[in-house]
């Protein structure tokens, strides 16, 4: 139902969508987001054990907040060409709001808490304040749930 993979290999979007779609008769909404390399090839460094652990923790947070019937988080590492998928976040739920929001939440947190580092032709990519802000909004709204 809930799948995490930190891998060097490419992923298959159609396959991941089909897995979520076929999880249960109650699945009425599937969201699959993919992030891909733009502009120039990248090398992704990562901290394997912590990556798995952080993604698992974020997935547990998402499951506590939304009625997800399944989810998939795949993050790649190593050399990646322009246009190749870096990350896939998929969610399945009965209705679209939980699927959309759960996927956005997971993606926002992956940006700020999954230990991956991108290096391009001109050096290491700098972290963006806008990513911190995107993740922080999920904390700001916690009291309203």
């Amino acid at each position: 139902m809930f799948r995490i993979s930190v891998q060097a290999e490419r992923f298959d979007i159609a396959h991941e969508h089909a897995r979520l779609s076929g999880l249960a008769p109650r699945v009425g909404a599937v969201v699959v987001f993919t992030g891909q390399v733009r502009d120039e090839p990248l090398m992704l460094d990562h901290y394997p054990a912590m990556a798995e652990r952080q993604i698992a923790a974020r997935l547990a947070d998402a499951r506590a907040r939304w009625p997800l019937l399944g989810a998939t988080v795949i993050h790649r590492f190593g050399p990646l060409d322009v246009g190749e998928g870096i990350v896939l976040v998929g969610t399945a739920s009965a209705h679209r709001a939980a699927a959309f929001e759960g996927a956005t939440f997971l993606m926002d947190w992956l940006k700020t808490s999954a230990p991956f580092w991108k290096k391009g032709a001109s050096g290491w990519v700098e972290a963006k304040a806008s990513d911190d802000a995107a993740a922080a909004r999920w904390i700001a709204t916690e009291g309203e749930d």
Binding site: D45, H46, A49, Q54, V87, K111, T112, S113, K119
Partner: protein, 84 residues
């Protein structure tokens, strides 16, 4: 006892290794550990000079500079993450 140190991204490149062990007999705040590491080589000194450019994890959880490091811990030092 010892502490395992892991370095990532440009911290790894400047330090010149991805992993090393240093002896540690008693708990020490992370900040003091990093300050002590600066003396190990010019690369360590350069990479670890500015804590505001660095983040750290103790036993694979993000940790602040005041967090204690204990003998046997795994400490990772790296730039802010840029995955996703």
């Amino acid at each position: 006892m010892a502490v395992a140190l892991l370095y990532f991204a440009w911290v790894r490149e400047q330090v010149g290794t991805d992993r090393e062990e240093i002896p540690l007999e008693a708990p020490l705040p992370l900040r003091a550990l990093v300050e002590a590491l600066r003396a190990r080589s010019p690369g360590h000194g350069r990479a670890l000079a500015d804590l505001s450019r660095l983040r750290a994890a103790v036993n694979q959880e993000f940790a602040g500079w005041d967090a204690p490091v204990r003998p046997g811990d795994e400490v990772a030092i790296f730039p802010p993450v840029t995955g996703g």
